[in-house]
Amino acid sequence: MSYVAASICLILAGGGAALTVSRRVRLGHALFRLLVGGGCLLGAGPAIAALIGLDMPDVRITTGVPGGPWVFGLDTLSGAFLLAIVTVGGACAFYGIPYLAGDAPRRAVHRAHALVALLVAALAVVVTARAVMPFLIAWEVMAVASYLLIVFEHERPAVRRAGMLYLVATHASTLALFALFAIWGREARDLTFAALTACAPTLPDGGAAVLALALVAFGLKAGIVPLHVWLPEAHAAAPSHVSALMSGVVIKMGIYGLIRVVAMLATPPAWWGWLVLALGVISGVLGVVWALAQHDIKRLLAFHSVENIGIILIGVGAGALGLAYGAPTVAVLGFAGATLHTVNHALFKSLLFLGAGSVIHATGTRDIDRLGGLGTRMPLTATAFLIGSAAIVGLPPLNGFVSEWLIYRSLLGSGISMSAIRIAVLATGALALIGALALACFAKVMGVVFLGRRRDATTHDAHEAPRGMTWPIVALAGVCMAIGALPALVVPAALRVGVLLSGGPAMPLTITGDPASAALTVYTLSVTTGLLAAWLLWNSPLGRRRMPATSETWGCGFARPTARMQYTSSSFAAPLVAAFRSVAGVHTHRSACAFETHAGDPVLDGFALPAWSRIRAVARWFHPLQRGTLSRSIIYVVAAVLVVLVYLVAAGRAA
């Protein structure tokens, strides 16, 4: 734990350095890189130690802190999330320096760097806190730092709107957390997680209220449909490395919270498992359908976060069902898959957002339909983006496949058992639909942005990103490939998390040996080697009798093909969007000579915004109460104090 504390201090110091040494830019950046990089490296050590199963004692601070003892600890669950935080946090912090360099004359860039460091530190505290007080404080610091980073380009009205939406959502989430801990803490000795765990059996209805509130509070943060409305707006508004950090790890705190609550409650009721599974299916399918309809690369990636949160929830739901129906293998595999997918998604989603950032940096547009042929100009970014795309789709031999495989195994395992949990096997169909639609969507992004020819001459003359922006992306791609090629390295750690959640080591899946993951590793390695060998052989002189010739693309006899005749992202996705038109939220405007589609968010446009304007209409009735004059305010304060006094006296008499 002391290493984690030192790591957090280093990261904060890095942020401080960026803030204070803002005059001498290069020195400030060097200090920032050194301190944040060092802090992230230092934090990875204890996280890995926790993941390989080392026991670390909790740290207790009892004196001088408000709200009872503050406890910090690191178990395998925290370790998995901490590792994701320091990896993605480090990559995004480094990427941010060259990415924002162009903004330096106009905006206070050093503040953004300091806020990124603060955000990473707050995230590290969230996953290691073992008491309500430090957890909530870190949660709020995280929320506010994210808000300030989202509104970095605050002169654009869309950005301010997205920031306000995020602020409302995140504070609704905090409010639900207050209610959750207030209900739970009523019976507890103090507000440490250990005390809450101890009094969990006394909660009424098996903790139904706590579990429902947890779904709202953490669901808002994670972006579960229909609570996701803030997510695409905020991710599209923030600078790309901030989007990467938010999509990669900040929204994962919602997943962390959900899993932590399950861990503390021991056995959730079956209805909660089914509810989470259903929410996962809904979020996954709708997220990817909405993503397919998008033209804006960052909004598209943001909707894919909703989709992947859905996949993770399917794993959590399967795990909870396994606990409720007493099917330990299903439970362990479900939670393990969910945790591993969380880490994997952190890796490849931040990769994709950083890649999108490089594209925006190079071309000056986020509109997919205006891009094209970037693969030849930005070869490194394009290759890394391709690896990230294949990983998020869940293709072997990459990391997304490994975690989805665990979740599939959990669902298929439920089919073998004899209880009502068998119905969960139907979710494999939903998971497959999500995967296939994601493949369609990333074929579209990869194909339209990086392959083919440049569509629009008005975009900047694209160039490869500076080295400070390519290597974080390439490093993340390397981690994705390593996890994908060697599942046996990570699956045992993920299973350890599953075992932690299903309470006790008496599991059919022993820690040391999951034979299937060893077999998968051997299989993946041989397939990958075979493919590489075949590729090399095929492209060597041995594989070809004759030298290949070059020519124009065959245009089926058309004499003058132009780049604008290529399939665009809209035309590519059109058949699928048409098939799902009832939920896709695409508005079409057509006239005699123009055709335009607008991909909105049906929940935001159809429900959240109308509801919001109703609330505002009601709030207007109370306008006369607030005149902004001092004398009135004083009267209100005095009246409030009087009411409280009367209540206290009355309550005292009643007792």
């Binding site: 072997p396 298929l412 296939a436 083919g452």
Partner: protein, 303 residues
């Protein structure tokens, strides 16, 4: 990998290009023509390998990698099937996910190679391919889920191997429904009538053929052979469901596999002679119909 495994795999790899030939021949005979020889695809492959490739100036390494990844992933997927009727050379719990994942990898590589040419025709084909497979993949998993429920085993070696005979004895209706559903998927995934017509000559109506419009020479040979192998893989799934052969000796089991594949080829040919292809916009409904068959099978098993 034992000798029996290697033999069965080698037999599958060798007979695969005959399958489209059998289908075409059946169609020709039923429509009163003589038709191309059954072994036509072997001649085509031999001719293409000897030719040189032509690459568009627009294309990158993605285009050149696509065919290799397509064929490689299909061969890797073949390793997961219990071709000798007992177990697979590389089988593990949940290997059916890897099977589907490898098919998806091949599709991703092919679609990206198509988009790499910057041609609107290939973009069109790529768009149709990912659209229809978006419906086919959940259907495949529903078939797998039904087989898991029927056999109580979550690996391809189990659900297409020894437990299949027992599953037929207590869940014959579900097994037949799954087999039928797999046949619909075979037609969809391999671009046969009524989803796509491999004999069409108009680019605007093609699905599979139009993605590979710019591929030529040895690259095209890899893709054509890959298509035949994919047909054989789906055929092997169907044979695994309908013809449990774990009790036979290994050579006999492989023989039954070849016989079964030939029957599948004939069935495809019969379907092609008696049906017209449906409109492109109705293909999703057709595939969903196939998925519903598997879903009925699951419901019967969940009783």
């Amino acid at each position: 990998m034992s000798v029996a495994h290697a033999t069965a795999l080698a037999v599958l790899l060798i007979v695969a290009p005959a399958l489209p030939g059998i289908a075409t021949k059946t169609r020709a005979v039923l429509t009163g023509r003589r038709g191309a020889p059954v072994l036509q695809l072997y001649y085509d492959l031999g001719k293409l390998v000897r030719k040189g490739s032509v690459y568009s100036v627009t294309t990158t390494w993605v285009f050149r990698t696509g065919p290799v990844v397509l064929l490689g992933s299909l061969v890797a997927a073949a390793l997961l099937l219990p071709l000798d009727g007992r177990d697979a050379p590389a089988g593990f719990s949940g290997d059916l996910v890897a099977f589907a994942g490898l098919l998806a990898l091949g599709r991703f590589a092919l679609v990206l190679a198509g988009l790499d040419t910057g041609s609107s025709f290939e973009g069109m084909g790529a768009s149709r391919e990912v659209t229809f497979s978006s419906f086919a993949e959940p259907a495949l998993f529903l078939c797998f889920a039904a087989l898991v429920l029927a056999t109580g085993d979550a690996s391809l070696s189990g659900m297409l191997g020894a437990p299949v005979r027992v599953a037929w004895s207590h869940a014959a209706a579900s097994m037949s429904l799954v087999g039928l559903s797999l046949f619909v998927l075979l037609l969809a995934e391999n671009s046969r009538v009524p989803i796509d017509d491999p004999a069409t000559h108009l680019e605007l109506t093609m699905i599979h053929e139009v993605i590979v419009l710019d591929h030529s020479g040895p690259d095209l040979a890899l893709i054509l052979y890959g298509s035949a192998l994919k047909l054989a893989l789906f055929g092997a799934l169907i044979v695994g469901v309908f013809l449990p052969r774990a009790d036979l000796a290994a050579p006999a089991a492989t023989g039954v596999l070849v016989l079964g594949l030939a029957l599948v080829g004939v069935a495809v040919g019969v379907v092609e002679s008696v049906m017209a292809r449906v409109r492109l916009t109705q293909v999703p409904a057709l595939i969903t119909g196939g998925a519903v068959l598997a879903l009925f099978g699951i419901i019967l098993l969940l009783r």
